[in-house]
């Protein structure tokens, strides 16, 4: 099974450990695992559309070029249906849409969930003042599962391809 799916499974396992009185450590690790599940899913998918099969090492080197901040920024634009200028150009080139762009609800859900989960992951990993409740973490895992399901529905679409490229190239496409 892919790392992304293993991480999601691990997140569910952690939430159910000591289910009557879940430990903060388990809830926090569950949030982090769920975020990384989505992070790795999207990178796997981006590499699938952007890299040739040979040589296989190329994909693994490219994997390290993705960074959290650019992925978040790219996702924020897609979430609100208002991605950066270069992306709008590409999307409107084949969709012929006037603004606002008509992006699918599933793509917006994936993008929005990524941003949410990254924010929660920061809190889970770094902010000891925050207490996670079980219901909140269960909700986050359901959100992540929904994002996985939504991705399955749209992953072969042209919009998804543009989205995946933007995860890597967000900063470069910001140039004037």
């Amino acid at each position: 099974m892919a790392l992304s799916h293993d991480l999601l499974e691990q997140a569910h396992y952690l939430v159910e450990l000591h289910s009557k009185e879940p430990k903060q450590a388990h809830l926090r690790r569950a949030v982090s695992a769920a975020y990384y599940a989505l992070f790795h899913l999207l990178i796997d998918e981006a590499l699938r559309v952007m890299t040739p099969a040979s040589p296989p090492q190329l994909a693994e080197v490219m994997r390290r070029a993705f960074n959290h901040a650019d992925m978040k920024n790219a996702c924020q634009g897609f979430s609100s249906g208002n991605p950066q200028k270069e992306i709008k150009k590409v999307l409107s080139g084949y969709k012929g849409d006037d603004l606002p762009l008509s992006l699918s609800a599933d793509l917006k859900l994936v993008a929005r969930t990524f941003v949410n989960m990254q924010r929660k992951r920061h809190l889970a990993d770094y902010d000891n003042l925050v207490t996670f409740t079980k219901i909140e973490v269960e909700e986050l895992l359901d959100d992540t599962l929904s994002a996985f399901a939504a991705w399955e529905k749209i992953k072969e679409t042209p919009d998804a391809n543009v989205f995946l490229c933007s995860l890597l190239l967000y900063k470069q496409w910001q140039r004037p």
Partner: protein, 100 residues
Amino acid sequence: MNRTLTYAPALIEAQQRELIKGVLTENPLPKEVKEYRVSFKEDWDGDPTVWIDLLVDVNAKGSLPKKKLLKLAAYARDVAAELLEQHIPYWPMVRLQPTQ
């Protein structure tokens, strides 16, 4: 007008509270949600964020029956999506929280 708003964060927050109230009026709170709370903060990267806590009664395990959880999680996602559609300037974090 925009310049005035830039220097009046309290006014912007008041406007956003109204926007949130409007979205929650159009998407009525499920009966399981006892009340909601709104707070404005920055996220870890310093980006503006609004937290909308939906307060629900939970069972002894701090949880909800699966069906209810899924329903409420979907509701929270819908509210966040609607706020983004309305171009709220704060990133909306809608979450379920226990009433106590």
